[in-house]
Symmetry: C3
Subunit: 338 residues, 3 copies
């Protein structure tokens, strides 16, 4: 990156209070930045560093007092602005490799413009890859799979037949999309497999961490809506719906047919029973276990989950149970001596 | 599928009360089904839909009252029967691909009749594949592995050297069978690796979900018995035995040398300590943690696990701990004022 | 293996009380061992088996009383000594395959002496493999990755660009090293991806189980120090440090920027919040959830974690909550009747 402050201000939608033509090429902390670097101030605690700051420009909030002469770009969210500049600075131009001779693309697959199908990747018959799709080595794209433009599948990702992935998605290594949902009918002592004839549909701008499993539906679809971001080792069972922009942290598991709302957060190792509804903007604490629906906007924790504030109080009281048993015994002694 | 009602009745072992030669070709819900479709009634709640039902035939229980003239097939378990028909309808004839030229089969491997070894799969020296085995792309079958007839390994499955898999098994993508068990001997501050010289043995009719790990034994075998079905992300440590027809739901972990009985259910995210015995037909609740043996037929929940009914009571009482502390304080005040 | 007792005594650093030139070729239990086998006695409970023991030699502790004439090798830790002999007996000489013609090594990769790059493995541009590195089939080594001498990557392991792995490491199948850390900045209802421009550094003598995820750092490095051993399904988030010789058991998850000390044990399914410090030699019980720092040497359990002894007491009292509520109700009745 080497870019003028005017260009940076335009990139982040900020107001420039610095020489428009000055150029910076690095991103550094407030203390390390020199005249050729951009820095940012998000946490007001670090405002004390501004007087000594030598940065070429600093991203600050609109109302941030700054020393006279300090070059700044004022922007509503300096941290977000910094992330946008970092993305700009580290972006690499798309390089279309085409289909590597050591990849295997079956007859009848359809490839968009400027795709990259790396060595040892596999694309099944009838699959459709949008423009600029990148399949890293050892990716498996099954027959009839559809992948939208600008989506990247990292090494070893597996997408079973017939599943659909949107545009601008990022799927990290080893994630498995569309394996059979876990469905069996009792047949005496044995278990008879219910064919899983649905698919997985993943909408646009979804990022899935490494080693996720998103199971195909029994019928119809398991549906991951746009903007969802998952961490590693996340499991979504058959026929679930995960609403827009929801965050599922590492090792979360969601059982079958549960509907997770929009902008929900499920913290690490949390789990949900099947056939539940988790309302929009709910927050589920780490390791929590959901046995019933969660209201929109609620924050719950524990197994089974309870309101977070109640959980905090009960956790402290559990540690005091030995004391409570002693106190009750003392009360009983006093009663018995009367 | 296009099949006569007589053939369907034979398939599900049911009693036909409809024209034997009538043919159906679809499977639909009671409300959507038309004269060319089969429907089923498992939950009596939906019996109210029967009068309007236009299906070519309906699978119902032996004692289900039905409107006069409604064509039915009476069968002990209509849901199971429906699953069998769905399986019949969606089954695809086995297509033997042989060994794809882009697969790699080492010298000295032995392949049964009509196998399919897809592109980019690997079969080690001395491996033995039974008839009609299917290895999807990017599967790894190590040296000396044995795989029984009609077993399917989905993309990216890894089977380490010397492990044995039975007939008619389904192993979903990315599952790892036979990695070293987690065994170390303390050597001062460091950990000395104990060689894991055993294997994994998987019997017939086992289905393993995606991204499971079944570790090889320190010596002898880790043993998954016939009919076991696991969900995704399940971990079975070295030297465990998992009994026939047991169900292990997603993200379950079983520590080393534990013996899980037959027809056990371990619900999602449950875990077991090592060297335990879990009796036949026990049910372990979600997220439970086992620290001691579980009796046959017991239903337990919690960490550490307790009888499920006790768990339900204590969970409600935990939510009332703030109230209980208040009540004890009031009692103490009353005592002190005497 | 066929080896003299003198050689074995030297191998384990033990004191020989048996004919130096006697040769053994097997390793067996005290009861099964014959004159050509080595056995060991670690647990004093089994000393009763010594009089009937027919082994060619027995590994025993320095102060172990033994029947007259029983050939023994005395050593401080007979179990560790047995593990060392077993390792010696099962070790296979390194066989350098070179680069298999069906592997893909990009231009500009650098390979040490006697490497084995198996069929269908991928090595990116600028990667550096040390001497005797083994890449099993379907391994992915990204551009610029460095792998130290004698390290083995099992099938399907993925190492993203720029990560560094030390010497004598063992990485089991399907493990993903260097996927993006889970970092997003809020952007209205949506989540803006923070580029993860750091790497993963893994030091020497680390063993990672199957299907682990070690995420790359936002900046700088996620750092797994020497001698760490992980079980399967372990998740280490971005910017964590895991100290030397620490043990992470199956399905453990460590959130971002947490520092785990040396010789820590985190038992199965335990999890830690982010930005914590877990002191050296701490022990974290199974399924525990850490919400704050853990002191060096502490043993904690529960969610949130408490001292293990307190946890044991409170767990028993939780089961007695129904009784406690009854007792308090009785006290209240007595008070009200006064």
């Amino acid at each position: 990156m080497e870019v003028s402050l005017a260009e940076l201000a335009a990139l982040v939608g900020g107001q420039l209070e610095a020489p428009a033509e000055r150029r910076v090429s690095g991103l550094k902390g407030l203390e390390e930045a020199g005249p050729g670097d951009l820095a940012f101030l998000a946490n007001p605690r670090y405002a004390r560093l501004l007087p000594q700051c030598r940065a070429g420009a600093v991203l600050v909030k609109p109302d941030q007092p700054v020393p006279e002469g300090l070059p700044v770009i004022r922007v509503a969210d300096p941290y977000l602005a910094f992330a946008k500049v970092l993305t700009f600075a580290t972006a690499k131009p798309h390089q279309a490799l085409g289909v590597h001779p050591r990849a295997l693309v079956e007859e009848g697959a359809s490839l968009g413009a400027e795709v990259s199908v790396h060595a040892l990747a596999y694309v099944g018959a009838g699959a459709v890859l949008g423009d600029r799709v990148v399949l890293h080595p050892q990716v498996y794209v099954g027959p009839g799979v559809t992948i939208g433009a600008d989506t990247v599948l990292h090494p070893g990702v597996v997408v079973y037949h017939g599943c659909r992935i949107g545009q601008r998605c990022i799927i990290h290594a080893g994630t498995v999309i569309g394996a059979d949902g876990y469905g069996f009918a009792p047949d005496g002592d044995r278990h008879f497999k219910i064919p899983q004839v649905g698919v997985v549909q993943i909408d646009d701008d979804v990022e899935l961490g490494a080693l996720n499993t998103i199971d195909r539906a029994a019928t119809a679809r398991t549906w991951i809506q746009s903007g969802v971001k998952t961490d590693d080792h996340v499991h979504i069972a058959h026929n679930c719906v995960v609403g827009e922009n929801t965050l599922l942290v590492a090792q979360v598991g969601v059982s079958g047919s549960t509907k997770v709302g929009r902008n929900v957060i499920m913290a690490g190792q949390a789990g949900s029973s099947g056939h539940l509804t988790i309302g929009d903007r709910a927050v589920i604490g780490p390791q929590s276990g959901l046995a019933k629906d969660v209201a929109p906007g609620a924050t719950v924790t524990g197994t089974p989950a309870m309101p977070h504030q109640l959980w905090l109080r009960t956790r402290k009281l559990i540690e005091r149970l030995p004391e409570l048993f002693d106190r009750v015994r003392n009360l009983e002694k006093a009663r018995d001596q009367q």
